[in-house]
């Protein structure tokens, strides 16, 4: 009888601890989502509304697409998207990258851009990825104000340099793909 009682106690204690942790994990999650994720989504939605509503995205896409049919043009796109003052403005929600990407996709489908350039193009149109979000990222990573002050310009300049490098890496990766 004693063993039965003890095992019951053991099981219920184990289950109790497990459920407690599970509940706390859920509460942490909801807190994180409400504090960090939802505002981000609202902000992105509003930006997407502005970019689509004012047709800024397709204007930029129409300017960039003719450049995309060779490696040099893709490097030029990457240099344009990576300009340290411009890159944070092109970033929000990756909307501009999505619009340009979709337009390039139709060009690839139409045969105007060789499919082997697809990966290089992915890096070229996305040089500005996250540049709008560096300050938030640094605060999510609990960086000190001093790190933020030095880090953000460092990241933006680095992007300008590594953007074209990424395009070349993407070009190499695409050699002989199809």
């Amino acid at each position: 009888m004693n063993i039965a009682y003890r095992s019951m106690e053991f099981v219920s204690r184990f289950v109790g601890a497990f459920i407690n942790n599970f509940y706390a994990a859920g509460r942490d999650t909801v807190e994180q989502v409400i504090r960090n994720v939802l505002p981000f989504m609202v902000f992105v939605s509003a930006m997407i509304g502005i970019i689509l509503g004012t047709q800024i995205g397709s204007t930029i896409a129409n300017v960039l697409t003719p450049l995309a049919n060779n490696l040099l043009g893709l490097i030029v796109i990457s240099l344009l998207c990576g300009i340290p003052v411009l890159s944070p403005l092109l970033g929000p929600g990756a909307v501009i990258a999505s619009v340009v990407g979709t337009l390039l996709g139709t060009q690839i489908g139409a045969g105007a851009i060789p499919p082997n350039l697809a990966i290089a193009a992915l890096f070229a149109i996305n040089t500005q990825v996250g540049c709008d979000f560096f300050p938030v990222d640094l605060s999510l990573a609990e960086a000190t104000p001093k790190t933020v002050e030095v880090g953000i310009p460092a990241m933006l300049f680095s992007r300008w340099i590594t953007g074209p490098i990424a395009v070349v890496i993407g070009w190499i990766a695409g050699l002989g793909m199809y």
Binding site: V44, G101, T147, I169
Partner: protein, 191 residues
């Protein structure tokens, strides 16, 4: 009068587009995100946060760990935008490089792991649809983009770290002074 009406119509269309986008993202991502994050949080709790943090600190000693392994694991497990929270386990001078690397890995793996960034999947899929239109398989692009992404994030992390060090040297900022929490200075009035 007509111009005003058209402006108002355009403005409300803009708001509506934003709202529709929000509903799409929220119903599409948040439920999955909640369940997945709860499970990850549970695992961290069961292992013990201190132990997870200690291991992370030990594991980030070299550039490959900082700018390749940790970003890849964070992106696949924590997804966009929470992956960058893992930067808290790094030293101050390494945080920008890690964030640069992590942000750069939100799109290249979308062909293999679409769950990591469903809201921005068209950055990848927009281009991939072209490949599909040509009647070619998407698998080679997915694998190669993933591998190219690995090289790119490593290069980005290392170069950002170097540039940060250069900027600090030029401005006479030491690594230790990054940790100083500046005293709250009263902000000068703008007007």
């Amino acid at each position: 009068m007509d111009a005003l009406v058209r402006f108002v119509e355009g403005f409300f269309a803009l708001i509506q587009t934003g709202a529709d986008t929000f509903v799409g993202i929220a119903t599409g991502i948040i439920p999955t995100l909640l369940v997945l994050m709860t499970l990850v949080n549970l695992i961290v709790r069961l292992i013990g946060p201190e132990r997870v943090e200690r291991t992370a600190e030990k594991l980030t000693g070299n550039v490959f760990a900082r700018y390749l392994v940790l970003p890849v694991i964070s992106v696949i497990v924590l997804m966009n935008p929470l992956a960058t929270t893992m930067g808290r386990f790094l030293k101050e001078e390494h945080k920008p490089g890690f964030i640069d690397a992590t942000e750069s890995f939100f799109h290249p793996p979308l062909g293999l792991f679409p769950h990591i960034n469903p809201a921005e999947i068209f950055v990848y899929m927009g281009i991939a649809i072209g490949i599909q239109t040509l009647g070619l398989s998407l698998a080679p692009m997915a694998v190669r983009a993933f591998l190219a992404g690995l090289v790119v994030i490593l290069v980005r992390g290392i170069i950002t770290e170097r540039i940060m060090a250069l900027m600090m040297a030029r401005r006479g900022i030491t690594v230790d002074s990054l940790y100083e929490v500046a005293e709250e200075q009263p902000r000068a009035a703008m007007f």
